[in-house]
Amino acid sequence: MMKILKYLSIFVLIVLLFIVHLGAIYVLPHPWNTLNTTIVVISLLIIGWENGFVVWVAMFFYYIVELYSVSFFGLVLFSATTATLFTFWIYQSTFEKRTWFSGFGVSFILVIIFRGIYSILFLLFTFYDTGTILWKSFLFPYMWEIVLTPIVTGLIFIALNKTTTTFESIHELKY
């Protein structure tokens, strides 16, 4: 029973997170609307949970994102989930301390890997479809996202570091 409630609450939180993500895109002015709130949250979950379960949560979340995407189904889901997985591995093998830098670093790595895989697959599919590639058209949409998302993650990490024990700097890592 407790497990069912736990998974149900995770489902509700994921739906709410998606609506917050939409809110950030629709309401915030440019360039803040390029902030990827999902990556901010997933980065913090990677650091806070230190558990592979975050990859499954990310997968379910990006399945919902996929429903509102016009790209080929699976593009965002595959890119984001594998990016989360790789970032989790990198976090486990590279980061030893919990500082604002780890929040910044994890978020930066995650957004770079996600957009890298997404761009490669997107170009493959659209090249097949249209026969043209506009490399510079990728720079502007992603530039702000790559800059803002890690900064915001780092700032939120600092706030959580001071207010919760989950994100405290001196912490025995679980793996």
Binding site: M59, S69, V70, F73, V76, P141
Partner: protein, 263 residues
């Protein structure tokens, strides 16, 4: 864990394309769409608030009225030119028919693109309302904003004119009635390409749909020319278009579902 995740992802993708997840996806959209609509309308209201923070309220009301007036006048002007052409054709033919009224349904915009490389909006009409892929979508008195690119049971995604994968056949209302393709550029601009170099176009010329494509009737207003790009020895010239409608602040649209009698 890696293998498990890859297998699950591939299973989900396969199940989606096989249609096994249709009900699950419909339930998820049913839960999320109302939230999306609320948040989208907040975004529009917030944008409108920003406009008159530095202007008197009265000036803003007058500005909005003038904006609608300009759109109506542009549409009326394009209809007038088309009517003149049509009158000339009718005089030379024995069998003719009066321009068909368009069958259409109204829809609310409940969301927009969540990916940075696309420019789309989400509307609350789907295949159960008669919407089909490729249907043109208009606002106001007949200004084209895009075409339906994906349909679900109760919602559809509309690809806007400024999307880089958008392409609509257009006609310039100039002396030569120049034709070309209206294409988007990753949300940064709308351009008309493949206009013959030898045909004269100028800033301010109105552009309408040419009617050369299935499902898209002739005469829908697209915008007007704001700049021309011409290179010597090239067979075609290009025009940068100022769309008739602000594609970032759309709240209500109409989907043209057939070229038959209007409802």
């Amino acid at each position: 864990m890696t293998v498990a995740i890859i297998l699950v992802i591939l299973s989900i993708i396969s199940a989606h394309y096989l249609g096994w997840l249709l009900r699950v996806e419909d339930v998820l959209r049913l839960i999320i769409n109302p939230g999306s609509e609320i948040v989208y309308n907040w975004g529009i209201d917030f944008d409108n608030e920003k406009q008159f923070i530095s202007n008197p309220e009265k000036l803003y009301e007058v500005y909005k009225l003038k904006e609608e007036e300009i759109l109506s006048l542009q549409t009326a002007r394009s209809e007038n030119i088309l009517l003149k052409d049509e009158n000339y054709e009718l005089r030379n033919q024995l069998n003719f028919f009066i321009q068909n009224k368009l069958r259409h349904i109204g829809a609310d915009v409940i969301g927009k693109n969540i990916e940075p490389l696309t420019n789309t909006i989400l509307i609350n009409r789907g295949f159960e309302h008669g919407v089909r892929v490729g249907d043109p979508v208009v606002v106001g008195v007949g200004a084209l904003i895009g075409r339906v690119t994906r349909i679900e049971q109760k919602s559809s995604v509309v690809r806007l004119l400024k999307d880089q994968r958008s392409g609509v056949a257009g006609t310039v209302l100039n002396k030569d009635r120049s034709i070309g393709i209206i294409e988007g550029g990753y949300g940064l601009s709308v351009r008309m390409n493949f206009i013959p170099q030898n045909e004269e176009i100028k800033n301010g010329d109105i552009i309408i749909t040419s009617g050369l494509e299935d499902q898209v009737p002739r005469g829908l207003l697209i915008g007007n020319i704001s700049a021309i790009e011409k290179e010597l020895y090239q067979p075609f010239q290009k025009a940068v278009i100022n769309p008739a409608v602000d594609l970032d602040r759309i709240t209500v649209v109409s989907v043209i579902t057939s070229l038959g009698e209007s409802l």
